[in-house]
Amino acid sequence: MVASANARLRLEASHLTAMFGQHRAVRDVSLLFPAHTVTAIIGPSGCGKSTMLRCLNRMHELTPGASVQGEVLLDDVNIYDNDVSAIELRRRIGMVFQRPTPFPTMSIYDNVAAGLRVNGRRSRAEVDDAVTRALQQAALWEEVKDRLHASALALSGGQQQRLCIARAVAPQPEILLLDEPTASLDPAGTQRIEELCHALKALYTIVIVTHNLQQSARVSDYTAFMYLGSLIEVGRTNELFTKPKVEQTEAYITGRFG
């Protein structure tokens, strides 16, 4: 199964600094993301948590003027080495954004298959299987199995976001990055995505950015708190929320600032 293949996967940021021009959005962050766990990155708006996430699959460098110092190690290979292809890398790391981004000209089926088709030729049957499996993993299969060739825009916001998760997991990535995936969803939609996090960590290593502390407490095994671009504290989620070691963390999680 995929799980065993990923068992030894290591994702680690080491002295990572991310810049927009002269502005340092992420400052010297070192952080290990253990395999098959959910790691949440929390912090107030503008603390660099989304930028941190976007450094992990080299999306950050697509912004004009952006640059990165330090390393991100994936299985002990620095993904910023010259001989690492950003395009190949992104095929190993799935990403889901704040707002659902289904491709409007494609059907539900084609949306899920999009990442498979770009990743080399496959037979019709292989694509069919992968699409079905991805939709099942995203808990969307039952709702769309009778209208796979309908427009992706016909789905509700919550369904669209699960479709984006299906699209991200269809090529069987090793890591799943979620950038505030429930920011635009209603409570019911949010709950379904959170349940998915629990189910999917058996298959993928998940990193989720959220500014919702309750969400972090509900879904994550580890939580990292960032403030003004720096990593303030990281630990097991239940420990960080019950007995934080740093004063700033305590102030943030008890709602005294941020």
Partner: protein, 268 residues
């Protein structure tokens, strides 16, 4: 205030109704089967048609589209996707200046660079003139349509491991496709009625021809010749030709509408 707007609106619509009504009134009676199948007869005789001009319009405008659409759409894609630098600024500036250039000037350019060196008027020269007219229009509309595609869609594709060119083609251009096609059809409809750039390029031809290296008649040129001529019969033919040209443009515009009817829903 609302009343004023309604009156102004009525004036605008009235102009269109008057033009169309006049065309039908004066042109429709001269349209028969021969009008579409026969070439013009010598002055003074009755009968004949404008088959040469209808086919000529098709060829000259079709050829112009063949030259202009790839260049115009390609330039627009470039401007939208990579045009933030100096070259983008220059291309955009030139497109804007060209857009404002009187079409007769473009006709003179085509005459200088094609007709004079080859020593002959030709349909091809006319097509090139129309293509030059079309390119800046298409470049700018394509750019606008592509820019309407949300940035988040590009990011989603790139995050899936799409190379940049494939993102541009498969996601961005496809999402903007109905808008781009509409822009092309509107551009084609616009140049189909042009007369000035063809006056000294395609020149006109009283006989039926399919050769693009020969002078060729188009509906607009035919109207010009008939309308400025001294014969009553010619004037009737001019009205009828104008009606046919208007119908052609209307068909292209309707096609544009039909294309925009959304399949899945996209930016248009």
């Amino acid at each position: 205030m609302t009343g004023l707007v309604v009156v102004l609106c009525a004036v605008a619509v009235l102009a269109l109704v008057l033009i169309l009504g006049n065309l039908v009134l004066k042109g429709a009676s001269s349209i028969d089967w021969a009008f579409f199948t026969k070439s013009p007869v010598p002055a003074g005789q009755n009968g004949g048609g404008v088959a040469n001009a209808i086919v000529g319009t098709g060829i000259v405008v079709g050829l112009a589209a063949l030259i202009g659409v790839p260049i115009g759409v390609g330039a627009g894609m470039y401007l939208a996707e990579y045009g933030s630098g100096k070259l983008g600024f220059i291309v955009r500036f030139i497109a804007d200046v060209l857009n404002g250039t009187p079409s007769i000037v473009i006709g003179i350019v085509a005459w200088t660079f094609i007709v004079r060196p080859t020593h002959r008027f030709s349909a091809l020269a006319g097509s090139v003139a129309l293509a030059i007219l079309m390119i800046p229009m298409l470049a700018r509309t394509t750019e606008e349509m592509v820019r309407l595609v949300p940035h988040s869609l590009r990011e989603a594709a790139l995050a899936l491991g799409y190379p940049r060119w494939r993102t541009s083609l498969k996601v961005v251009a496809r999402t903007a496709l109905t808008g781009i096609v509409t822009g092309c059809l509107v551009g084609i409809a616009r140049v189909a009625g042009e007369t000035a750039p063809l006056l000294f390029t395609a020149l006109g031809n009283l006989n039926f021809t399919l050769s693009v290296t020969q002078p060729m008649q188009t509906l607009s040129l035919q109207i010009y010749v008939y309308a400025t001529g001294p014969f009553e019969e010619w004037h009737r033919m001019a009205w009828a030709s104008a009606l046919v040209l208007m119908g052609l443009v209307l068909i292209i515009s309707l096609t544009a509408r039909w294309v925009t009817r959304q399949r899945y829903g996209s930016v248009s």
